[in-house]
């Protein structure tokens, strides 16, 4: 019974637990960045108009940063994730 319950939630092995924890940590990092953007836009929108670098305003840099940041975190996750099954170990 003890063995079945974890499988039902989708997480069985140590690798799966490690991957899930890693995913949640990276998710929280991104949430903070995204939340910062939402907060600035909603409550201090004029700050986004400020030109911060190379003649381009903060709004664009922050937006590009959120897009590029998502990709960087996704690549980190892919690299750090552990193989979860025999087939993955074979392919990775």
């Amino acid at each position: 019974m003890d063995q079945k319950a974890p499988r039902d939630t989708g997480i069985t092995s140590e690798s799966e637990q490690y991957n899930a924890r890693l995913g949640l940590r990276l998710f929280l990092v991104y949430c903070l960045c995204y939340g910062g953007f939402m907060g600035l836009s909603a409550f201090k929108v004029t700050a986004l108009r400020d030109v911060v670098w190379r003649g381009v305003p903060l709004s664009l840099w922050y937006g590009f940063g959120l897009i590029a940041g998502a990709l960087v975190l996704a690549v980190i996750y892919m690299v750090l994730c552990r193989p979860e099954s025999a087939s993955e170990k074979g392919t990775s």
């Binding site: 995913g23 995204y34 003649g55 937006g63 959120l66 897009i67 998502a70 892919m78």
Partner: protein, 639 residues
């Protein structure tokens, strides 16, 4: 505006359509089993699946809607891009792997893997169907908009054509052909948007209107009143309370309408259409058309002042482009939401707005997001609600979720998501260039904020226009295929097989899936026609809100909160779905534009985007119901 038919555009479109249908018929043999039809046997290579993610996700809303919003309102369109892309973080880090492990064909499989409950199957299937339909609506609206400049056919013909072609794609080869169509479309979309961006940067920005265009006028009321050829019309009836001044040309009898720009008597030229009492459509008082004695709207989108007081910049670098726009002044156009009715008919007004580039580079330019520039809290909540929906909605969209079943394992799911994020992220950066490029191209149709991308391409020539229009059409095909497949899976697999317990072999299930696809396709056509005139990006915002509210609480809590039980999941799906759907249908936008209620009707919900209320409500309901319905043994083991 009336668009000229382009033979080249039709040829490219038909060529691409032929390729897409050819792939479908060729791959038909691979979709004879349920596993092949709904999940492509789980054999799609991860890279192909990743680009297909992009093809699936980059819908008409992304391409037409976001470009349109940027072109008309600036940065606000990019807010959608940021939210859509951020949503993939939820999909990758939270949902992708468990979903792949727990499911088989549909989202309901994963939710129900622990409980084997008919109630969960039914609730998840209903949610999949409703979310898919709401996401289908903007795609069909996009198709209707595209058919006009491409083939010169009416809006309704575009909707019917897309519906018919997609039904053919899905029915012939299910997920296999859908995946390859999405792969081709996703790849082409990113590549051609890149090419178009290079062309925009190479052309630079100019204050000189394109060939044959005359600048829009500004004048003072005093100056026009003193002109002996003009007669000022009295501000009677509905005109009395509106910011317009009308002057009739004594020779031609035509009326020109000006909008008051300030309190000092300065006026700006408007463009207007009239629907006369006998149903005829006039533009500027003349029958709308391209022939002799007819008139049409003039294209808009010009820079009135460039940084450094120059007329033209020459080629610009990627950052220089934004830097130049930031320091310039742009002439944009808006539609007055209130029409004016008098004895000659109903007038719809389009007026000029002079905007500083710096203001266009910050949120709050459009009516949807204007609240962030005001003090009132409700406007800010509406913005936060939409951004929350976009963030949480991606990981809850059924047609995205089922794509995790088309690869062989969790590692492939992971890799394909990363490829998808790379392709989608690049595309969203490019949409910003396309939108701002269209804004200053002098080619915009003031009556449609869904058309700037194709019209921008046309400003570079017929071939780019032909290719972009054909790709945009394929964009709609790819996304609609995925949605119809998700909906047909919900009907055949979740409802008929799992909920109703109908005994079906593999072939029966595929047949049921195909019949469902036809029915959902027909429904999508009808809804597409009903929602004519809505901005597609705005409609997608609603679909994301409903998806997030209905699906995300149960998905997340199932994975991360042990006391979650079947009653909690069912209640959460139904309450999240029902509350968000009701909110959307009672919003001012729906009452005004869908149900056509007259101005001054009662306001039922404080703002239009529901997620900030209905998403937490879904979580709360799940927690409360799960705790209230715990079995005694579960409570005992807990204590």
């Amino acid at each position: 505006m009336i668009y000229e038919r382009s033979a080249l555009a039709i040829a490219v479109f038909l060529g691409l359509l032929g390729i897409v249908l050819g792939i479908s018929f060729r791959l038909g043999a691979k979709a004879k089993s349920a596993s092949g039809f709904f999940a492509a046997h789980g054999e799609i290579p991860w890279f192909v699946n990743g680009i297909a993610f992009a093809g699936d996700y980059l819908s008409a809303a992304s391409f037409l809607g976001i470009c349109g919003l940027v072109a008309f309102y600036g940065y606000d369109g990019f807010l959608y891009s940021i939210g859509y892309l951020a949503g993939w973080i939820v999909a990758l880090f939270v949902v992708a792997e468990p979903l792949k492990r727990m499911g088989k064909y549909t989202f309901a499989d994963a939710l129900d893997s622990r409980f084997h409950s008919k109630g969960i199957k039914l609730a998840a299937a209903i949610s999949t169907l409703i979310v898919s339909l709401f996401y289908l609506i903007p795609q069909m609206v996009g198709a209707g908009n595209l058919i006009l400049p491409l083939l010169g056919l009416p809006y309704e013909a575009g909707v019917v054509l897309v519906g018919a072609v997609v039904i053919a794609i899905v029915v012939t080869a299910g997920m296999v052909s859908t995946t390859w169509v999405q792969f081709i479309k996703g790849g082409m979309l990113v590549v051609f948007c890149g090419i178009l961006t290079v062309m925009i940067l190479n052309r630079g920005i100019s204050t000189i209107p394109p060939d044959g265009q005359t600048p829009f006028a500004m004048a003072s009321e005093e100056e026009l009143s003193a002109n002996g050829d003009l007669e000022k019309l009295p501000a009677e009836g509905n005109w009395a309370e509106r910011p317009y001044v009308r002057f009739r040309d004594k020779q031609s009898g035509l009326v020109k309408i000006w909008r008051k720009a300030d309190d000092k008597g300065n006026l700006t030229e408007t463009q207007y259409s009239t629907v006369s009492k006998d149903g005829k459509k006039l533009v500027g008082g003349i029958p709308q058309g391209r022939g002799e004695g007819m008139a049409d709207f003039r294209p808009v989108g010009h820079v009135t002042h460039l940084a450094g007081d120059v007329d033209k910049t020459g080629p610009l670098g990627p950052l220089q482009f934004f830097q130049t726009l930031q320091e310039s002044e742009v002439l944009l156009w808006s539609k007055d939401p209130k029409t004016v009715t008098d004895d000659s008919g109903e007038f719809t007004m389009y007026y000029q707005r002079r905007e500083r580039g710096a203001d266009l580079m910050m949120p709050g330019g459009s009516s949807s997001f204007a609240g962030v520039r005001k003090e009132a809290l409700l406007g800010k909540l509406n913005f936060l609600s939409l951004m929350l929906a976009l963030f949480a909605g991606t990981a809850s969209l059924p047609h995205i979720l089922i794509r995790y079943y088309t690869v062989k394992d969790s590692a492939a799911a992971r890799k394909s998501t990363v490829v998808g994020i790379a392709a989608i992220g690049l595309f969203y950066v490019l949409t910003l260039y396309l939108g701002f490029g269209a804004m200053v191209s002098g080619s915009l149709d003031p009556t449609s904020d869904n058309m700037p991308a194709p019209l921008l391409a046309r400003s570079f020539g017929q071939l780019p226009f032909a290719i972009v229009s054909a790709i945009a059409f394929t964009t709609v095909l790819g996304t609609v295929s995925g949605l119809i497949l998700a909906a047909s899976g919900a009907v055949a697999h979740d409802l008929m097989t799992n909920f109703l317990g109908m005994e079906m072999n593999d072939a029966d299930m595929v047949r049921a899936g195909k019949v469902s696809a036809v029915l959902v396709g027909i429904l999508a056509i009808v809804l597409g026609i009903c929602f004519k005139g809505f901005n597609v990006a705005f409609l997608v915002g609603w679909a994301f809100s409903i998806a997030a509210s209905a699906n995300l609480p149960s998905l997340v809590m199932l994975l991360f909160w042990k006391p979650t039980n079947k009653q909690g999941i069912i209640a959460s799906i139904l309450v999240g779905l029902g509350s968000s759907l009701l909110w959307v249908l009672l919003s001012n936008e729906a009452l005004d534009n869908l149900f056509k209620l007259k101005a001054g009707h009662m306001q039922f919900v404080p703002f239009s985007q529901p997620a900030i209320v209905t998403l937490p409500l879904g979580f709360l309901v799940l927690i409360v119901v799960s705790l209230l319905t715990q079995k005694p043994e579960a409570q005992a083991s807990k204590s």
